[in-house]
């Protein structure tokens, strides 16, 4: 984490950069470009800009790429000392990239950003090729002459209300898992097939005025934050993101378990609360599934009704 403070005559700003990549997404006229230009103009002028690292507005098209290439070249030549020095040089920068910069359209951007060890701030309303989450997206707030960054509405909650419809990003094992988990709660569960269809699925369900929950991977929303942003404040739509979910649904033991229950038609009225961890699963899978289940019961209090007892 690092912070930048700007004390210009007509504008003051304090920006906290928590992660490597920060995206500033906001309406027009909020001061995004002005702050960036002033930071680039004053650079590290003492008394005006306070920053742990030098600040720069990305200028050349291939700057990040060239620098990343230099580091890689030196490392490939076995020159670890020089590559470490160059990596440290890169690490010492905070780079601002404005929305119209052609570098944002380059296919090598993601790879170069991953090699870049400093902080990158991108001003954009549409971005899909870089890994970022909702916690990396900020808007600019201001009061008189003072500006600061504020994270956008966090779509994720600590506890969720019971929905009428659940939209799952996954169409195979993840869908099976949630059908088993919410099996006897009278909730419609379907897959939107992939994250690109989330908006369409929400729109379709909204027509019937239903309470909707969207379940996706934590990175699944990142590329669609700007397309789903208007739903983050919608009281009828909840978003739930899970991490490290793939390992359990891709686990052969879980697959075998699900297939076994489906083949034996145990899925009729069966839900995961019927699961006996000791007898139905191997110990390793059982232990990790218990952790995931505990997390789900904590987040979804409506699971803890008398009709859905916790797994034995």
């Amino acid at each position: 984490m690092t912070s930048i403070e700007l004390r210009a005559k007509n504008l003051q700003a304090k920006l906290m950069l928590k992660n490597k990549l920060t995206v500033i997404f906001d309406e027009s006229g909020t001061g995004k470009t002005l702050i960036t230009r002033l930071l680039d103009f004053y650079r590290s002028t003492k008394g005006i800009v306070f920053s742990d690292y030098p600040i720069r507005l990305l200028d050349g098209l291939d700057e990040i790429e060239n620098k990343a290439y230099e580091v890689k070249k030196e490392a490939n030549n076995g020159n670890k000392v020089v590559s470490t020095i160059k990596a440290k040089e890169l690490r010492r920068e905070i780079l601002f990239i404005d929305a119209h910069h052609p570098a944002l359209a380059k296919s090598t951007l993601r790879k170069n950003v991953e090699m870049f060890d400093g902080y990158i701030v991108i001003i954009s309303r549409h971005f899909s090729s870089l890994p970022f989450g909702t916690s990396d997206v900020y808007t600019v707030k201001s009061e008189n002459r003072f500006h600061w960054l504020e994270m956008i509405t966090d779509p994720y909650k600590d506890e969720y209300d019971k929905p009428d419809v659940i939209i799952v990003e996954d169409e195979t094992w993840g869908l099976d898992f949630y059908k088993l988990l919410f099996g006897n709660l009278g909730v419609d569960i379907f897959s939107c097939e992939n994250k690109d269809h989330i908006r369409e699925a929400i729109k379709s369900c909204s027509k019937h005025s239903k309470r909707i929950m969207v379940i996706c991977n934590s990175c699944g929303l990142s590329n669609h934050i700007f397309d789903l942003y208007d739903y983050f404040d919608n009281s009828h739509v909840q978003f739930f993101a899970i991490e490290s979910f793939e390992w359990i649904v891709l686990s052969p033991f879980f697959r075998r378990f699900v297939e076994d229950y489906k083949l034996n038609k145990r899925s009729d009225g069966f839900c995961l609360s019927d699961l006996n961890y000791e007898t139905d699963l191997t110990k390793g899978v059982a232990d990790k599934l218990k952790l995931i289940m505990e997390e789900h019961y904590r987040r979804f209090p409506f699971l803890q009704s008398k009709d859905t007892p916790r797994p034995r």
Partner: protein
């Protein structure tokens, strides 16, 4: 009529500072419609081509206007131009719709610009969605089509390969790398 292409286009104007500097004329800054737009979006009072007062009442050069309001002015003033709508925020939506009622204009969009903020009544929304070549008269239908196109083509939507031939563009850019990714 407002014409929207959901996706990207090589000849859309994306650098508003450069384009505004290139195209601007002194008379723009005393046009009442432009003055109203700048006041609403940037909270700035336009006086002339050399002077404006910002939201705090401090003097500033109109060159420092936001990219969004420059895009709106270009959309309003220049013929045969495609504006990259990604440079405009939701607070520009009502002005985009209004300009579309006054003249033919073209924008590209890669994100969900919430036109709902600019709609006064149910029949206030009208645009031609060029991807499906259809005139849309309700925001709800636009929202639905947006979701379908988002799902069908992925994150970067569609590449407008055949924009109108007589449209001018003062800046070049190459989006081919971007579309190589989406075509895979």
């Amino acid at each position: 009529m407002l014409n929207i292409w959901l996706g990207n286009c090589d000849i859309s104007v994306y650098d508003m500072d450069v384009a505004f500097e290139y195209y601007q004329e002194d008379g723009w800054f005393t046009d009442p419609y432009v003055i109203g737009m700048v006041k609403d979006v940037d909270k700035t009072e336009l006086i002339s081509h050399r002077l404006a007062y910002d939201y705090m009442g401090d003097p500033m050069n109109p060159r420092e206007l936001s990219g969004g309001v420059k895009a709106l002015i270009l959309l309003y003033m220049i013929d045969n131009i495609i504006i990259d709508g990604n440079m405009m925020g939701n607070n520009c939506a009502r002005w985009i719709l209004d300009i579309g009622k006054r003249r033919d204009c073209y924008i590209t969009l890669c994100y969900f610009l919430n036109f709902e903020e600019g709609i006064k009544s149910d029949d206030d929304f009208e645009c031609r969605l060029l991807n499906v070549d259809k005139v849309i008269k309700s925001f709800d239908e636009y929202d639905t089509l947006f979701g379908k196109l988002l799902g069908k083509h992925g994150l970067e939507f569609e590449y407008w390969r055949n924009p109108p031939e007589n449209f001018n563009c003062i800046m070049e850019r190459d989006l081919s790398q971007l579309y190589e990714q989406t075509e895979d």
